[in-house]
């Protein structure tokens, strides 16, 4: 199973979308600790988890993975939800587009499930207003 290909299929479009914004919004992925903590700098975190790798299916293909995709948007606290929602909207559009990508002969065929959220939270000590969405996905690595 090519987990890295699946991860790239999700991460690259998100990186491109947030990189294309003016100003570009930094995106941090799993196992990267360079989060600008305790600042008001806005940023996005993308976490991809893998659930079941193989399961009996009606097809002969066992090369598929189910998992979850969590996107958290950190924006300045005390300035209303508008900016956070704008960034969440960018992420939502990318997730929806992932499901419309046609199936090719090679590469990764990925379909996302329902998008849960956004939910918003802001704790007293934390410097950010946090918006969060998550979705399930099923990915198949094509030979």
């Amino acid at each position: 199973m090519n987990y890295q290909a699946i991860r790239a299929a999700v991460e690259n479009p998100l990186l491109s979308a947030f990189g294309a914004l003016v100003p570009a919004v930094p995106v941090f992925f799993d196992n990267i600790t360079a989060v600008p903590a305790n600042t008001t700098t806005e940023y996005v975190r993308v976490n991809i988890t893998f659930g079941l790798t193989t399961e009996p299916t009606l097809t002969t293909s066992l090369d598929s993975v189910r998992g979850a995709l969590v996107i958290r948007v950190f924006s300045e606290k005390g300035r209303g939800p508008a900016r956070n929602q704008t960034l969440i909207d960018t992420a939502t559009t990318v997730i929806q587009n992932l499901s419309t990508t046609p199936k090719g002969i090679t590469g990764v065929f990925l379909r996302t499930g329902a998008i849960n959220g956004p939910t918003f939270s802001s704790t007293e000590e934390a410097p950010h207003f946090v918006g969060r969405i998550d979705s399930s996905y099923v990915a198949t690595v094509l030979p």
């Binding site: 799993d30 600790t33 989060v35 903590a37 976490n47 988890t49 893998f50 659930g51 079941l52 399961e55 189910r66 998992g67 979850a68 969590v70 958290r72 499930g113 939910t119 939270s121 704790t123 000590e125 934390a126 950010h128 946090v130 969060r132 998550d134 979705s135 399930s136 996905y137």
Partner: protein, 172 residues
């Protein structure tokens, strides 16, 4: 043995309710296994409630069907689509499930569960722990987004299937 049709229908309804209760117990056990275990309070705080019917008792891991509320099996009650809602009763459930930021302190005790992350805290999510050249000051006993992964990654569906299999097998 011949049974009246009315009794047969009631037996089917009982099987369905039993399967739902077994599935709830399976899910609570798998949530307890997948989630963080430091003192054991969080993993022992899963409760299955049936809104409008009754609350499940506060059990502890490993959970059994006795920790889930008995569901009514009359035609009228079943028509109301009784539901089982699984909740964690701790104050910090949202933080433990990685759904909200929080403020984390070292309780000064050793964790009961396996440590999966160790290092220095860099953020306010439970698993915001990164490598450190100094002695590790923070630990976590469940991977990041374990709850969302369990729900969306197929784990909950498996628990549900297992619970239903057990439920129907026990009733037959």
């Amino acid at each position: 043995m011949d049974r009246p049709l009315g009794q047969l229908n009631r037996d089917v309804r009982r099987q369905i309710q039993s399967a739902a209760r077994h599935a709830a117990a399976e899910i609570m056990n798998d949530l307890a296994k997948a989630g963080p275990v430091w003192s054991g309070e969080f993993s022992n705080s899963w409760v299955a409630n049936a809104p409008g019917v009754g609350e499940g008792r506060q059990g502890s891991y490993p959970y059994t069907i006795r920790d889930t509320p008995r569901l009514p099996d009359t035609i009228k009650a079943v028509a109301r689509n009784p539901k089982l809602v699984i909740v964690n009763t701790t104050d910090y459930a949202m933080q433990a499930m990685d759904l909200e930021e929080g403020y984390f302190i070292n309780p000064g005790t050793e964790p009961l569960g396996p440590v999966v992350l160790e290092g220095k805290r860099y953020g306010r999510m439970r698993a915001d722990i990164g490598p450190s050249e100094e002695d590790p000051t923070s630990r976590a006993t469940a991977p990041q987004d374990w709850f969302v992964n369990y729900v969306n990654g197929g784990g909950m569906q498996k628990s549900l299937e297992n619970g239903i299999k057990i439920g129907f097998a026990r009733e037959n």
